[in-house]
């Protein structure tokens, strides 16, 4: 069998970016939650907030480290597998990536050291500032990356000029239009909220696990409450953001929207396909369950609004992964909404949290990660066969690599990623068990440790 370097390179990049996005989607929002813990501690001097802070900085450090190394891998793969990308659109992608490294990456990486290990060494205000800067850094990093990604979906502010060899290359006409391209505000908001939800459910899941293990530290309760309230606030906002993003997609990438909806024929008053199995050869959905008119109402806000079907596009992306990915993401979103609101109700009634509810939270620990990945699959596969919509196809960007070479590295990457994902999950729960094994639970001990720390800090000043 001929090994296809194109397909293998795509799988390799997809594997890489799938593995990578799990960790930023945790750290982007976790930085802000840590800041919240730190500020609560500053305001109340309650040792429990600091316990939450220390526990989740460990989670942050681990996630950040994996995020860094998998991010480095990606920046190299642009060159090793996809040199055409930088050759054609390097004038746009280059500065955006450079600004990411310069304004965000160094900031977070440097202040992370102070944030993690500096608590006893620097004055309190500097430690809080370091926490702020790490949170700002991760968010700024997300900003630049999403600017570039959005530009690949809805390119703007450039013109194509041929170089000496006759190769058309993108040149910037307006940086404002490049940065604030049509889908950027929607995608950025959607992703930042997704990160908030991912973090909220991660914190809730681990805290619920600690409660189930009989850990009665008040820091666990505080973290759980924070996470549930955060999720309950963010989830409705995410519904709105996702909806607006969908409408933006209808305008700029209608074929992707048609694949998300599973709409084959152009139709006025299109039904919402709740479930079905799309079939690209017969060009219809099998076993579909539909709600009449609902798709038109959602997307166009009118009963007889028109949704262009897949059959009316010359080329459209593969339907199945987009169709199922979208339903997986939305399904998890609905579960998140229910669980976070039930949680708020329980908090409001001030009841003992039922075990069943805690088990549900443990089950949802990585739900945000799964939903984020599903969402990214929808939007990225939805752009195919383009790498930069209307400008550069994915195939054109492929470099002169052989299938055998890509296959060999792909297999190693896949095994490393599988191993690290398992190690990460196992270690998180191990840390949760260790935190709750009694050594940190004794309130008297906590106060002694806190006192020791205050003395150390006073000495540092």
């Amino acid at each position: 069998m001929e090994l296809d370097p194109f397909l293998l390179s795509r799988i390799q990049f997809a594997a890489n970016i799938t593995f990578h996005i799990m960790f930023p989607s945790i750290t982007i929002a976790l930085g802000w939650v840590l800041l919240f813990f730190k500020l609560r501690y500053n305001a109340t001097q309650d040792e429990a907030w600091m316990q939450s802070y220390f526990f989740f900085t460990k989670v942050f450090a681990l996630s950040f480290a994996i995020g860094v190394v998998s991010g480095v891998t990606m920046s190299f793969q642009f060159g090793t597998n996809w040199p055409g990308f930088m050759e054609i659109v390097g004038n746009i992608a280059g500065p955006l990536l450079a600004y990411e490294v310069l304004t965000a990456f160094f900031l977070e990486a440097t202040f992370l050291g102070i944030m993690l290990f500096g608590f006893r060494r620097v004055p309190g205000w500097l430690h809080t500032t370091a926490t702020v800067l790490v949170a700002v850094g991760t968010t700024a990093s997300a900003f630049w990356i999403l600017v570039l990604n959005s530009w690949m979906h809805t390119p703007a502010g450039f013109e194509m000029i041929a170089n000496d060899a006759g190769q058309l290359q993108a040149h910037v006409t307006s940086w404002w239009e490049v940065v604030f391209n049509p889908s950027m505000p929607y995608r950025l908001t959607h992703m930042l909220l997704a990160s908030g939800l991912t973090t909220a459910f991660l914190i809730a899941g681990i805290s619920a696990y600690r409660l189930l293990r009989g850990d009665r530290a008040s820091s666990v309760r505080k973290a759980l409450t924070t996470a549930i309230v955060l999720a309950a606030i963010l989830m409705p906002l995410q519904v709105i953001a996702g909806h607006e993003h969908g409408i933006n997609t209808k305008e700029y990438q209608p074929a992707k929207l048609a694949a998300m909806e599973g709409a084959w024929e152009t139709q006025k008053g299109a039904p919402l396909v709740l479930f079905g199995i799309p079939d690209e050869t017969e060009r219809k959905n099998h076993f579909s369950i539909e709600i009449p008119y609902l798709a038109s109402i959602i997307v166009t806000h009118s009963l007889d609004g028109e949704i262009k079907g897949l059959n009316d596009f010359e080329a459209h992306p593969p339907v199945k992964p987009i169709f199922f990915g979208f339903r997986l993401m939305v399904g998890i979103g609905v579960l998140m909404l229910i669980i976070s609101w039930v949680g708020c109700y329980l908090l409001w009634r001030n009841k003992e949290t039922p075990k069943l509810y805690l088990y549900a939270l443990v089950g949802m620990t990585f739900s945000g990660v799964v939903a984020t990945i599903a969402g990214w699959y929808v939007t990225e596969i939805g752009r195919q066969p383009w790498l930069v919509q209307g400008v550069l196809t994915t195939k054109e960007a492929l470099g002169p690599v052989t299938g055998g070479m890509v296959l060999s590295t792909l297999l190693v990457y896949l095994s490393i990623y599988a191993f690290l994902t398992i190690a990460y999950i196992v270690t998180l729960f191990h840390m949760a068990r260790k935190a709750g094994d009694g050594s940190e639970r004794d309130p008297e001990r906590q106060i002694i440790q806190g006192g020791e720390r205050h003395t150390a800090i006073a000495a540092a000043k």
Partner: protein, 337 residues
């Protein structure tokens, strides 16, 4: 020459080549010492391993970022060269990345997994550091000889791989001399002596091989009167190496005097070697195939990046200095709380 560069706009690509070279050099120094420490832990006992890793704990994340900046600048400022170089180096790049992945995550995992599994992550930390260093050396060797894939080319690249790993061990050992005390410091001095000798062998090999491989480089170094201006580089390097060796033989001094000096001397040796290499290859970015100007991105894009770089770099250097100030002095146990 400078006037001409300003007139024809080629100052922008040269500025970026300088910035890229600078990031690579800073990377080699900073990640060099933490990769070196990673390789040296294999010779240390259980307790020493903890102390050694604690000495690099607050810094390694930021150190590795310089690699991203260096490769990032190659990617964004010289897209054409970036594609050529990285496709030629496909396998060593992949191997380096595997190494960097393992050592980066091992750093965090080893402190968080159950105690009885810690040694496994220590091992991954060691092998990751070794693999990454060897791969980087191999890439440098391969780059020097213009990606020659013949047997002798591969042998040369392997030699440079070992030399670079050794040079990283040298700077790692010097870092430990500065950051550690007692028996560990004595061990570090012995490591530094051993790896200094190995690094010198590698340095001599590169200096001898590059002029032999390329007639252009030979003429650049050995024609008159250039040789008069250039002679100070190898002479100063030789003097520094000699001083460092004598110093290491006398160390440690009472009250830990001059514990920082070997590290500074090693940085100076790094800088001089780098300047020598850069001089050999200028104005090429892909040896003998593509010049800096040919490979450069559009001036408008370079300009907007330069503005960003000029604003951000001083701030960046400032807060890097702050981090080193906060964690200065002998390494202590790392703790979050």
């Amino acid at each position: 020459m400078i006037e001409q560069a300003i007139a024809d706009g080629s100052w922008l690509p040269y500025t970026f080549a300088f910035l890229m070279g600078l990031s690579m050099l800073i990377y080699a120094v900073l990640d060099g010492y933490d990769l070196g420490v990673g390789m040296l832990i294999d010779n240390a006992n259980w307790h020493e391993k903890d102390r050694m890793i604690a000495s690099i704990g607050p810094f390694w994340d930021a150190n590795e970022t310089w690699l991203i900046l260096g490769v990032g600048l190659l990617l964004v400022a010289f897209p054409a060269a970036h594609g050529v170089i990285l496709t030629e180096l496909y396998l060593p790049v992949a191997i380096m990345l595997f190494g960097l992945i393992f050592r980066g995550v091992a750093f965090d995992f080893r402190a968080k997994v159950p105690y009885q599994q810690k040694w496994r992550w220590n091992n991954k930390f060691f092998y990751g550091s070794l693999l990454a260093s060897l791969a980087q050396g191999y890439m440098l060797g391969s780059y020097i000889i213009g990606f020659d894939q013949s047997l002798s080319g591969i042998m040369f690249s392997c030699l440079i791989a070992v030399a670079i790993a050794s040079a990283y061990c040298l700077i790692g050992a010097c870092w430990l001399i500065m950051k550690c005390e007692g028996s560990l410091q004595v061990k570090a001095i012995a490591w530094a002596k051993y790896h200094l000798i190995n690094s010198v062998v590698g340095l001599v090999a590169v200096s001898a091989a590059t002029p032999l491989i390329s007639k252009r480089i030979f003429e650049k170094w050995f024609s008159f009167p250039e040789i008069l201006f250039l002679a100070p580089i190898p002479i100063a390097t030789g003097l520094l190496i000699g001083t460092l060796y004598l110093l290491l033989r006398k160390m440690p001094f009472a009250q830990d005097k001059y514990c920082w000096l070997p590290f500074i001397l090693t940085i100076a040796i790094y800088i001089l070697s780098f300047v020598g290499l850069a001089h050999s290859f200028f104005p090429y970015i892909v040896p003998e195939k593509m010049t800096i100007v040919e490979a450069a991105a559009a001036p408008a894009s370079l300009f907007i990046m330069l503005i960003g770089a000029l604003i951000v770099l001083p701030i960046l250097i400032g807060y890097t200095a702050l981090a080193y100030y906060i964690f200065h002095g002998k390494a202590t146990e790392l703790r979050y709380d």
